[in-house]
């Protein structure tokens, strides 16, 4: 057989390539640039890369193609929208990551060792987090556009591996942070094994690694259904794990709590976009015609996830864990968009992902601000009277909570409405009912936090809200602004999505 050289359309791949290049440069910088200059250099490189990549995405927004890389990635409306969302979310997350106070000076050093102390004193801060972030982002960009099994798997690992490490980089409570990394890694690897196994069966069913090929055989209905079903089930497990759906959610509360808060924010927001992006593509294109087999299951998972997330969140005492469970509940809502399996569902999901991602980053940005002498204070009881201490921060946080709760005039409401109506339209009434119910339950704990912040008097225990650094401030202001604007004038974005979001197969 003859070997045909691959033809790559670089301009369409450029957003990802730029990120990879940036990441590699970052690695070199880590090696060769002097300690003093490193942080600022790394930051500027990262931001620069992201902006450049975003610009590229903008440039190619209208060039749709399935052959960008020999049919292993597809660039279409949803791809563009998702990539853009990921990049925007990443930029504001990087602003948080820039606050090096969250990250261990020397990941390799023992917690509490002289080595570490020395590193901190001499300001010997390693900044490998930046290239890691860029690698992860590159993976996330690739995940939703990949259109064959190999790319999909590689992308998955590409976005996961750096995150495993980043979860362990916290400067304070390092044991917990490392534990988070360990758990995330083991469970992640575990689930990706399922994912891979499922892929194997899909391949076995269709004899093709390409989505288009698999889709054809699903449509044709030829081939052994058992293989298909096992394939769908196992691939679903891998994806459901990434989005944190019950019962594959167990990692998220621990990891969210253990990881450095900026990373948590980044992970919670960007990973969800990437994972759901891939999920949408796979279920809307590849599995669409086998929906008789998976919609019931996914509906069940969605319902359980919504209710479980909301219920358990009520009982949380730690703000990061509470947000983790709330993100589980939101994963449930988003699954409703997948189940919808119609244009409205696709549009709604994309809108929801963007709105939710921005709000999440904003919320975690505020979590980074509430501190005492030894780092962040995540115990909710110590958030009492935050409204007195610093009204603006508290108000912003309340804004994000209201958005999560889906109160009108916030982006959350538009998102919830659109995704539920899409699901209802596809006849998934049960999911909608459960969604409404769990929203009611969820309102419970969002409001409880607001009460804590505004209606209870502060206790003097050294909890302070430190003045946000310029970058963090930008993040917060940007995300609150987006949250409100999308709540009041969602029309432009919605129209954009409606016009853009159609999968090409």
């Amino acid at each position: 057989m003859t070997f045909t050289a691959p033809v790559l359309n670089y301009s369409l791949l450029s957003p990802i390539l730029i990120l990879l290049v940036g990441a590699l440069i970052g690695v070199l910088v880590e090696a060769f640039v002097s300690k003093a200059l490193r942080p600022v250099t790394q930051l500027s490189i990262t931001i620069g890369t992201l902006v450049l990549s975003l610009a590229q995405v903008w440039k190619i927004r209208n060039e749709h193609s399935t052959t960008a890389a020999m049919g292993s990635v597809v660039i279409d409306g949803p791809a563009i929208l998702l990539q853009a969302s990921i990049l925007i979310i990443s930029i504001i997350s990087v602003f948080l990551i820039a606050d090096t106070d969250h990250f261990t000076a020397l990941a390799a050093s023992l917690p509490g060792s002289d080595e570490e102390r020395h590193a901190v004193q001499t300001g010997n801060q390693v900044t490998e987090v930046y290239p890691l972030t860029l690698f992860a982002i590159a993976g996330m960009m690739l995940f939703p556009i990949s259109s064959d099994l190999i790319t999909l798997f590689v992308a998955l690992e590409m976005l996961s591996l750096p995150l495993y490490l980043m979860a362990g980089l916290s400067r304070r409570r390092r044991l917990a942070s490392q534990e988070a990394a360990l758990k995330y890694f083991l469970l992640g690897a575990f689930s990706s094994a399922f994912f891979l196994f499922g892929m194997a069966y899909l391949y076995g069913y269709s004899g093709s690694v390409n989505f288009a090929g698999i889709r054809e055989s699903v449509v044709g209905g030829s081939g052994n259904d058992v293989l298909l079903l096992i394939g769908i089930a196992f691939v679903s497990i891998g994806l459901l794990f990434k989005v944190g759906a019950v019962p594959f959610h167990t990692w998220s509360p621990d990891v969210y709590q253990g990881a450095p808060t900026p990373v948590t924010g980044f992970m919670a927001a960007a990973t969800k976009v990437a994972a759901f992006g891939a999920m949408l593509r796979i279920y809307y294109t590849v599995f669409a015609n086998a929906q008789w087999s998976w919609t019931p299951l996914l509906s069940a998972v969605a319902i359980v996830t919504m209710l479980f997330g909301s219920l358990v969140a009520i009982a949380q005492r730690d703000v990061k864990r509470m947000l983790a469970y709330s993100s589980i509940a939101h994963a449930g809502f988003l699954l409703a968009g997948v189940i919808a399996l119609n244009k409205a569902g696709l549009d709604a999901s994309i809108f929801y992902l963007f709105a939710y991602g921005i709000a999440t980053v904003g919320a975690f940005a505020i979590v980074t601000l509430v501190r005492d002498s030894n780092g962040e204070v995540t115990d909710l009881n110590r958030w009492k009277g935050l409204g007195k201490r610093s009204p603006w921060v508290a108000t912003a946080f309340a804004g994000f909570l209201l958005a999560f709760a889906g109160i009108p005039l916030t982006s959350g409401f538009i998102g919830k409405f659109s995704i539920f109506s899409a699901a209802y339209e596809s006849g998934a009434k049960g999911v909608v009912i459960a969604g409404v119910l769990s929203s009611a339950i969820a309102a419970f704990f969002y409001i409880r936090v607001i009460v804590l912040m505004f209606f209870t008097d502060p206790i003097q225990d050294g909890t302070t809200v430190d003045i946000p650094s310029g970058l963090t401030r930008i993040t917060i202001i940007f995300s609150i602004a987006v949250t409100i604007v999308l709540g009041v004038f969602p029309a432009p974005l919605l129209t954009l999505i409606t016009n853009f979001a159609t999968f090409i197969r």
């Binding site: 007195k388 539920f420 309102a443 409001i447 009460v451 209606f455």
Partner: protein, 503 residues
């Protein structure tokens, strides 16, 4: 002339100005707030003058596309009912501001925040009655909760945050049920010629009776929580007990009217058949509310809770009138909404003054006020009289219309409800005797009587109560066309007198 948007813009602008003012200059803040609300009141009255009475169509209609992808419009328009309620809200607003001149002190936040919230709330109060797009209505319906929530929790007394949360959770729960129904409507409209939220077009939707019943319940429960109807009422006494008098006036006087207004505007219009199906059940609940609210009012020891329970009884009357499906019942209910706004306002404001002077809201702590503070005592007495629907005062007309209108179709309900008027005598006269009569209890000897500001604030309320008692026609003439329109739209006509058939 885009009247309604203008009306809504005014207080919003006012709130921005207030927010911009220096926190320290409280006097200025209050003056600006008062000026704004007065301006809105003037504008509303000016608009009302231009309202064509006999036109049953919506008037002052505005429509701009808001979220095209969902067919959502920013659509406003009012019929007689909406006009009356908007009038009530905008007249009450300045009264509340003036009457509660000092109630924003000692809150969690500055005076400025209080008035900003009040003004924002006024905008929403106008919008919620004017909206003709279901989505827009829902958005305002829900968003309204937030300012009220902070008004109760931030400036109330006692268990204020608990009460605020209770209020919010209750309302959100109802709201979400309504959201489910709205989504269903939206989807069905999509299936039947284009997604829309336009009330008029939605009212033509074809749907199975089961669907209609379910969706009706979604809406009705939300409204029954707002209104509030037994047994969904338990949030109200707590909220009223903790909120400042001014807030309570807006809460019971205006916000709760959204419930009864919604029953007419949305339940009856969108789900005529379901409304008929559920009428018997609802009437029973209404009658229970009337009697239950009255009896519990009699049993209260706290003045504010007492007033809250009287309102539950009154909302029972309103609901009964709405679902009696007669023109008298409907007009009575509509008029009742207006009158209740003012009689409750009078009760709460005067009661609030008594409480703030005495430093306690326990009825037993008062006594002999008639000798100490005659003017205040008489105002309270008058307010009480209007609350027990004394003929010659406004609420009598509406209450009697409701009863007569109900009797012609549902005599039994009407008869039971009428016992409410005896209980009313009790729940008003008992506090009157305890608080105003008898020897002056220690600690009350030198309470100050109403000052000029308070007199000015309460005067218009009392005036309206008395004048409308003798001359309600202006309002009735505005309401009646809508009444007949709605009743006829439901395929009902007033029962004809039975006499003549038995010759």
């Amino acid at each position: 002339m885009i009247w309604l948007t203008f009306l809504m813009a005014l207080p919003l602008a006012g709130s921005v100005v207030v927010a911009a003012l220096p926190k320290t200059n409280e006097k200025l803040v209050k003056q600006v707030a008062l000026f704004t609300t007065l301006l809105v009141m003037g504008a509303t009255i000016a608009m009302a003058v231009g309202f064509q009475r006999d036109n049953v169509e919506l008037q002052f209609v505005e429509k701009y596309s808001w979220i095209p992808s969902f067919g959502i419009n920013y659509a406003l328009g009012i019929d007689g009912l909406a006009l009356v309620l908007i009038l009530m809200s905008t007249i009450l607003a300045p009264v509340v501001v003036l009457a509660g001149w000092n109630e924003s002190h000692g809150g969690r936040w500055s005076v400025k925040v209080f008035y900003t919230l009040i003004l924002v709330l006024e905008t929403m109060m106008i919008g919620v009655f004017a909206a003709t797009d279901v989505f827009l209505f829902y958005v305002i319906f829900e968003a309204m909760l937030i300012p009220v929530y902070f008004l109760i929790g931030g400036y109330g007394t006692g268990e204020r945050s608990a009460a605020a949360v209770k209020f919010l959770i209750y309302s959100l729960f109802g709201g979400l049920l309504m959201l489910a129904s709205i989504i269903a409507l939206y989807v069905m409209s999509g299936a039947q010629g284009g997604h829309t939220f336009d009330l008029a077009s939605l009212s033509h939707l074809q749907m199975s009776s089961t669907t209609q019943n379910l969706l009706f319940l979604g809406f009705f429960i939300a409204f029954a929580i707002k209104a509030p109807l037994w047994p969904l009422h338990t949030w109200l006494p707590d909220a009223a007990e903790s909120a400042t008098p001014g807030t309570s006036v807006l809460l019971l006087g205006v916000l709760d009217k959204v419930g009864t207004f919604g029953m007419i505007r949305y339940c009856l219009t969108l789900f005529p058949d379901a409304s008929k199906t559920f009428t018997p059940m609802i009437l029973v609940l209404a009658v229970i509310s009337i009697i239950y609210g009255a009896i519990l009012a009699i049993g209260q020891r706290d003045l504010k809770r007492l007033i809250a329970f009287t309102s539950i009884s009154h909302f029972g009357f309103i609901t009964m009138g709405i679902f009696a499906m007669t023109s008298q019942g409907y007009s009575g209910a509509a008029l009742y909404m207006f009158n209740h706004g003012f009689s409750t306002a009078a009760l709460f404001l005067v009661g609030g003054w008594m409480i703030s002077r005495r430093g306690s809201s326990t009825i037993a702590d008062f006594g002999g006020l008639q000798r100490v503070t005659p003017v205040m005592a008489w105002m309270f007495f008058l307010a009480g009289m209007s609350s027990l629907a004394l003929p010659g005062l406004s609420s009598f007309v509406s209450e009697f219309l409701v009863l007569v209108g109900t009797f012609t179709r549902y005599p039994v309900h009407a008869i039971i409800a009428t016992f409410g008027i005896v209980l009313a005598a009790l729940y008003i006269l008992i506090p009157v005797q305890k608080a105003l009569h008898g020897p002056t209890t220690p600690g009350n000897e030198n309470l100050p009587d109403l000052n000029l500001r308070e007199k000015i604030a309460i005067a218009p309320v009392i005036a309206i109560i008395v004048v409308l008692g003798f001359y309600p026609s202006p309002l009735l003439k505005v309401i009646n066309p809508a009444a007949t329109h709605v009743i006829a739209g439901l395929g009902f006509s007033d029962p004809v007198p039975t006499s003549g058939n038995n010759e």
